[in-house]
Assembly symmetry: C2
Homo-oligomer: 359 residues x 2
């Protein structure tokens, strides 16, 4: 019950342990096509360029930035946690210019500040933000941020690593241009795969670049030859075949449950956890209006030893909870309720264990 | 029996299906340390910076190039197949200048041509070459190429994707500065992980760069905070935990067998295959003096339909062999004898199946 990797269902682990077949085997190509369809469902998009990248979420982030940014491009980045900061790193390493909007950790990105930045920087090409900040447990207003970007003719890059499958996300409805996620959060798949999706507008930007994408491995112009439509696939890299079995299975499980049902399960799991935490005197740090149900940030009570409690939980109760990151280190715990892990049994075990350890 | 991914042992598949634990769990940190030790054994190196990258071999290649090259750096690249060409792509995308040495596909890199290039380009920073060209089945003279590079004060980047575990490779003995491999060839692990190793000299070059590494995800200065020594590990990205279980198990199996025994097994498997192919009238294209035992390139006989034969083998005999790449497309097949797949039963099945299909 940390901030991810979340618990993986035995069904997914079993799928992953099936014999490895070739990455160009017709059966594997069929699995790729079905995975794309399922991913379109999860993202709520009809974008043809929707696929899992063969590397962790951080590489998914990098795939979005290196493909859309050329040297000199201006990118407005919203920062209210670790992953917004990582976006800035990506912009700069692409030779882009980052205009940052900084909000306090634990607060939402301020929409007025974004609008001001868009007004002051009419030459901005991209607005980038994190939908669900895993470091702080805050949900940013993705739909409204996309509306602002569109009003100012900006593309959007959205981090949905922790949001996909856990809370409402509507790529086509909100008009997101580039989005990445991770396998190991609310999809409850093994870590190491990063689903991405690009709008037609983003694809056209990528196809009309003046410079080559700086990463060969993440160049969507090349990857599309392997993941694109049709029976003929060009070799680009060797796909992580077994992890793709797992990805497929986890998306199938999400489809079987239904997106809306998955969101509801996360919301009601959060309600139960919040009530339980309250009963044992622990406080959630994030305002309930923009709190993430799947990532619960708890203030460490005065005088309690952070590391000792976490290691006690891990060793005596077989329960992992997450430490605070960055400026939150030592001040908060992060309790994940993601995917397969978000169920009553776990929540009750978590509350009971915390109660034992703290008393 | 294609050019990889090779057959994965059930032992490795089972290891991979164990429950996912956190990427910062003390038990996982211990597994990381043991994996590094085993990888040092496989590479025959004491380089502290030896670890598996959380992405496929192509990302391992990119990790070596982006970390060592800064804009304007001159790199001599030996090309005698697809992967030498991919190295040039990497150099150029790093803003480096590639000086290429081109040899015919199926031939070795000419040592005299390399020496000439080193003489003409005293400002070259790096010599890059492929030890075992998976596209052509050719072994390049890694030891001698490294000697030439050292004589001219050049760093070396070596592609050992197909060589590691299959033929002699001695990172410290030969003085290799940066090397990458893949999990899915002679290690018989699932695809998706790229072992790398950097010499002390390479590490010093990386630490003293004037510019930031263009890839955040592959920046060794950051990755070392997670994979480095000591109990304290800084979060960089979420490691593909289950694939790392598989990586560990495959390296353990290599250690149990012994490196030299693994090389011998590949060599004798090749002898048996070569004899069998000869008996059914098929010809290996590469000179026996520099042929790779683990990757056998067979000329497609006049009048035989390439795709039809491969699909017949796959569908009727449950046997995958590889197509030719690039200028070899339609002209050759590539038969892999890698790791777990390199055993008498498979070789005999391959010969018998080819005989049935071709008659």
């Amino acid at each position: 019950m940390g901030p991810g990797p979340s618990d993986v269902s035995p069904r997914i682990l079993n799928a992953m342990a099936r014999p490895t077949i070739g990455h160009l085997d017709p059966l594997f190509i069929q699995l790729m096509d079905e995975t794309k369809n399922l991913l379109q469902y999860a993202f709520q998009t009809e974008n043809p360029l929707t696929m899992p990248i063969s590397a962790p979420g951080s590489a998914g982030m990098e795939a979005c930035f290196v493909n859309l940014i050329e040297p000199g491009d201006k990118v407005i980045v919203c920062i209210n946690g670790v992953f917004g900061m990582r976006m800035v790193e990506n912009v700069e390493r692409c030779g882009g210019e980052a205009v940052t909007i900084n909000n306090a950790w634990g607060e939402q990105t301020d929409l007025n500040a974004v609008e001001d930045a868009l007004n002051v920087n009419p030459d901005a090409k991209i607005l980038a933000f994190v939908h669900a900040e895993t470091s702080t447990g805050v949900r940013n207003e993705a739909k409204l941020l996309c509306e602002l970007a569109q009003k100012h003719n900006c593309l959007t890059i959205v981090d949905s690593v922790t949001s996909l499958g856990g809370i409402e996300l509507d790529v086509d409805g909100w008009g997101i241009d580039a989005i990445y996620s991770g396998s190991q959060k609310c999809l409850s798949c093994v870590p190491g795969i990063a689903p991405v999706s690009f709008s037609e507008k983003a694809v056209s930007v990528i196809q009309n670049r003046k410079t080559k994408v700086q990463s060969w491995f993440l160049d969507m112009n090349l990857i599309v030859g392997y993941w694109g439509k049709g029976a003929k696939r060009a070799y680009h890299h060797t796909a992580p075949v077994n992890s793709m079995y797992a990805m497929y299975e986890s998306l199938l499980m999400l489809k079987e449950e239904g997106l809306e049902n998955a969101w509801k399960r996360h919301a009601s799991g959060h309600d139960r956890l919040a009530q339980g935490l309250n009963e044992i005197g622990l406080e959630l740090t994030v305002d309930s209006r923009f709190r993430l149900p799947q990532l619960n940030v708890v203030r460490i009570p005065e005088g309690v030893d952070d590391a000792k409690v976490r290691s006690h939980l891990l060793n005596e109760f077989n329960l992992e909870i997450g430490a605070g990151l960055g400026e939150h280190a030592g001040k908060v715990w992060r309790i994940g309720l993601m995917g397969y892990a978000c169920k009553q049994r776990n929540i009750d075990h978590c509350i009971a264990s915390l109660k034992s350890v703290l008393n």
